[in-house]
């Protein structure tokens, strides 16, 4: 640590410490303010606010959706992960990439496709799926890739020797998989559940379009229509408690099932399982999610877009420009926040500075509506000049997405040995110079990947843009949402198509080039 950037002795301590602390403060202060604000409520009224039966129904609905999505995405992702890693099927890497692409479909676009294609007037002869069923199906099919990617990595990381050892100890192949391999991929399952769970709790677009009353939906209705601020704050707070509960349960379970790979040396590759007569069924199982989550939405969008009135076309360019105008600065700001956080987390000896990185994950975990509301309350009271500005929109977007930039930067930083900086120091470079001449050039790829992820995420983000986009700004996501709410499916189609095609292309390139699949 001695002498590198961010250390006490190096003198460069505050170069990174100050921005990191500012980011941490920006993530924490508005949430604390939200809590204070909620506590301002008259104690007598508090009972009627918190304990109304409506809230109980919201909790029940939210938890039911959580359980439904976790169950359905498990059914989708576990066999897919197994089929694309451990079997003798052809083109496993291509399948894996394609099966990850539904990640590019935002939940509100999925809901839009469901509404536009089914029920009376829809292009598919299916009854309209709304409420719980619809939300579960849509969220499962757009979120399962998170579980799929983690399970795939875990499955290929499991030492196949352990399964063989189980065989020599008298356990058959199927039981060896369940007793030995499955427990080893439980941590990946749990991580996947956490990410999916956070998205479900934070989802706003899907549930509100499909009219399923969860917390996010209720918060927005309170804020947008009724505008009972105290009640909205309380709902946001309850949602935060729910999120906190999810994190605590995950943390508790994780400690119990901690698994470290024991064998050293390079991982042997497990022999591919031959499926024999089940092979056609396996291909069908790979094809089905692809059809439902990617092909059907794309075909439907193209079909609907052809009905789009041509004179609205200039709106397309404008929406794209609005999205990019917010997403570009957001990506740069998030990267600017992520670099110091990641660097200090990896290199600093101060627990405070190392811990700041955790706060970045807070921005990710907090449901965007709660984060947005917290900032609205905070700026209205404390920084009124900021309220309703472009800057606030970008700032909150960056705070929400900073964790997605921290992860790749941190990963890249682990690849740069501290010794390299020490060499630069012995060659007469100061800590700041050593960072920019040695460390930064080596981690720019990770930084670029992080920035790109944030850019795409921000350009299709819905709830924060709905709350915070200043007057006159109507990005792609907001247009899709408001047209769909008015059942103007043809008008929404080109915007939705643009979002899906652009982010699918991006996700595909990223996955393939970074060898994530």
């Amino acid at each position: 640590m001695r002498g590198s950037l961010g250390s006490r002795r190096g003198g460069g301590h505050w170069v990174l410490g100050v921005p990191a602390l500012l980011t941490g403060g920006a993530l924490l202060v508005p949430l604390l303010y939200l809590i204070l604000r909620a506590l301002e409520a008259d104690p007598a009224a508090l009972g009627t606010i918190v304990l109304r039966p409506k809230n109980l129904a919201l909790v029940a609905n939210t938890l039911a959706l959580l359980a439904g999505v976790l169950a359905l995405s498990t059914v989708i992702a576990v066999p897919l992960a197994f089929l694309t890693t451990r079997t003798a099927l052809r083109g496993k890497r291509l399948w894996a990439t394609l099966l990850t692409l539904p990640l590019a479909v935002p939940g509100y676009v999925g809901a839009y496709v469901l509404l536009a294609t089914t029920g009376p007037g829809g292009i598919l002869p299916l009854p309209r799926l709304e409420g719980f069923g619809g939300a579960t199906v849509v969220l499962s099919f757009v979120l399962y890739p998170y579980l799929f990617l983690g399970l795939r990595a875990a499955l290929s990381g499991v030492d196949p020797g352990t399964e063989e050892a189980a065989r020599t100890l008298g356990v058959g192949p199927l039981r060896a998989f369940f007793r030995v391999t499955l427990p080893q991929i439980l941590p990946a399952l749990l991580s996947g559940y956490l990410v999916i769970g956070l998205h479900v709790l934070g989802d706003f677009g899907t549930v509100s379009l499909l009219r399923y009353e969860t917390f996010s939906y209720a918060i927005y209705v309170q804020y947008d229509a009724a505008f009972d601020r105290v009640y909205a704050a309380w709902l946001a707070l309850l949602l935060l408690f729910l999120t906190g509960g999810l994190l605590l349960i995950e943390g508790g379970l994780r400690r119990r099932i901690a698994v470290a790979r024991v064998s050293k040396g390079s991982a042997k590759k497990a022999p591919d399982v031959r499926l024999g007569r089940a092979t056609p069924w396996a291909y069908l199982y790979l094809l089905l999610p692809l059809l439902l989550a990617l092909v059907v939405p794309l075909v439907a969008l193209i079909h609907l877009a052809r009905r789009f009135p041509g004179d609205h076309l200039h709106g397309l360019g404008e929406a794209l420009a609005h999205s990019a105008l917010a997403a570009g600065p957001t990506a740069l700001l998030a990267l600017g926040m992520a670099l110091p956080l990641a660097y200090l987390a990896v290199r600093s000896r101060s627990p405070l500075l190392r811990g700041l990185e955790r706060l970045a994950y807070l921005g990710y975990a907090v449901p965007p509506l709660a984060l947005g509301l917290a900032w609205i309350f905070f700026t209205l009271r404390g920084l009124p000049f900021l309220y309703g500005t472009f800057a606030l929109w970008v700032l909150v977007l960056a705070l929400h997405f900073v964790a997605e930039a921290v992860a790749p930067v941190r990963g890249a930083l682990h690849q740069v040995p501290r010794r390299l900086e020490e060499v630069a120091r012995t060659l007469g470079k100061g800590p700041v110079q050593a960072f920019f001449r040695v460390t930064f050039p080596l981690l720019w790829r990770g930084a670029a990947a992080g920035g790109a992820v944030v850019f795409v995420g921000a350009s299709k983000e819905l709830p924060l843009s709905l709350l915070l986009a200043p007057m006159g700004y109507r990005p792609l996501s907001v247009r899709v949402f408001s047209y769909t709410r008015e059942a103007m499916f043809a008008e929404a189609a080109p915007f939705a198509l643009l979002i899906v095609v652009l982010s699918a292309a991006f996700v595909g390139v990223l996955l393939w080039s970074e060898h994530l699949v």
Binding site: T162, E164, R167, T168, L169, G170, V171, L186, V259, K264
Partner: protein, 363 residues
């Protein structure tokens, strides 16, 4: 020792794609015997173990356990224990859970505890494999394989991931445990010292075939092929003419361990040669080209004008000769006549013409 074999391998052949890994391997292991298969890496020894365990299916040949043909049985039915090279401990289970994994019945935890106590790991029951050192993991892996009291235990390079100091002591302990539990064991290794000291019976393997099987002393002292002679330790290979009890070579008359006639290759261990001052009698003149002092002995490499390969001689630590000095090389022991290598394409002539005269592999 009973004479009903525990394990019989007959004509085992196995290939992966175009490469033939095992070519007609025969082997017999008797109960309570510890057999080591020694060979360079890539000679097929690990594949051989995996075939015995049922983890690989051979194309040809038969595996019999206690007289029963088990060739078609899956690994879980065979009940053969396996200690993997990297141990393959279950990372999600405790040490205790790992050992109890293969046991059945109410007393499985008690039996697992006893198995762990036997290998000196009784105090580590609740630990996770990730918290153990390499040597400790090795003991747990051994306990896990031994706990079900398998009729046969297979060990795949079990000591190779331990550091040198730990290796020798662990080896002795494991051998003692195997003997105490009267376990029949088949071990594969590329370490000559390990094979010689660990086994009751030694097989030397090369390119998918077993070239020689016998007690370690016999294989070391009476190698049958040039490969075995060199792989088991340093050997000078001299071509010459057999004349009954001795052979005429460039070093003069070399007594041989068995009568020979006609052209022959004789293997002479470095300790069977002595250096003498050039003024005296005995042996041809040569020049010392290298001198390696190793504490307990001294190894010289001597260049003889009439021989393409340097000759290696081992002397006591007080031997006075220096590099560049002229010396006489005298024969002080018996040589072993070798049969020609059975492998097509490798002619015995390579012995005298190319390459270093001494092979010291796997040290």
């Amino acid at each position: 020792m009973e004479r009903t074999p525990r394990l019989v391998l007959e004509g085992i052949s196995k290939g992966f794609g175009r490469t033939q890994v095992l070519e007609g391997v025969d082997l017999v292991v008797f109960p309570q015997e510890i057999v080591a298969i020694l060979g360079p890496s890539g000679c097929g020894k690990t594949t051989l173990l995996r075939v015995v365990a049922g983890l690989e299916t051979p194309e040809e040949g038969r595996v019999s356990l206690d007289g029963t043909d088990i060739s078609a049985w899956p690994p879980e039915k065979r009940g053969i224990g396996f200690v993997f090279q990297d141990y393959a401990l279950f990372p999600h289970l405790t040490v205790w859970g790992n050992v109890a994994f293969g046991l059945r019945g109410r007393d499985r935890w008690e039996r697992a505890r006893r198995a762990l106590e036997r290998v000196g790991m009784g105090g580590f029951l609740q630990r996770r494999p990730g918290e153990l050192s390499g040597g400790e993991q090795q003991r747990v892996a051994l306990a896990r394989a031994l706990a079900p009291e398998p009729p046969l235990l297979l060990l795949d390079e079990p000591f190779s991931s331990l550091d040198a100091e730990l290796r020798a002591s662990t080896r002795a302990e494991v051998r003692q445990i195997l003997k105490e539990t009267r376990t029949t064991a088949l071990l594969v290794t590329h370490d000559q010292e390990e094979a010689l000291s660990f086994a009751d019976k030694l097989g030397v393997m090369r390119e998918g075939r077993i070239e020689q099987v016998g007690p370690p002393e016999e294989v070391y002292l009476r190698p049958k092929t040039p490969f075995v002679a060199r792989f088991l330790g340093r050997a000078n290979l001299l071509s010459g003419e057999g004349c009954g009890r001795y052979a005429e070579t460039v070093l003069g008359r070399v007594p041989v361990t068995e009568p020979v006639q006609g052209p022959v290759v004789v293997a002479l261990r470095p300790e069977a040669l002595r250096l003498r001052p050039p003024q005296g009698e005995g042996g041809p003149l040569g020049q010392v080209v290298a001198r390696e002092f190793k504490g307990h002995d001294l190894t010289y490499r001597v260049c003889l004008p009439s021989v393409a390969e340097d000759v290696v001689v081992q002397e006591g630590p007080e031997s006075p000769f220096r590099v560049g000095e002229w010396v006489r090389v005298a024969v002080a022991g018996a040589g072993v006549p070798l049969r020609a290598t059975p492998h097509p394409g490798v002619r015995p002539s390579f012995l005298g013409s190319r390459g270093p005269g001494v092979a010291r592999l796997g040290t």
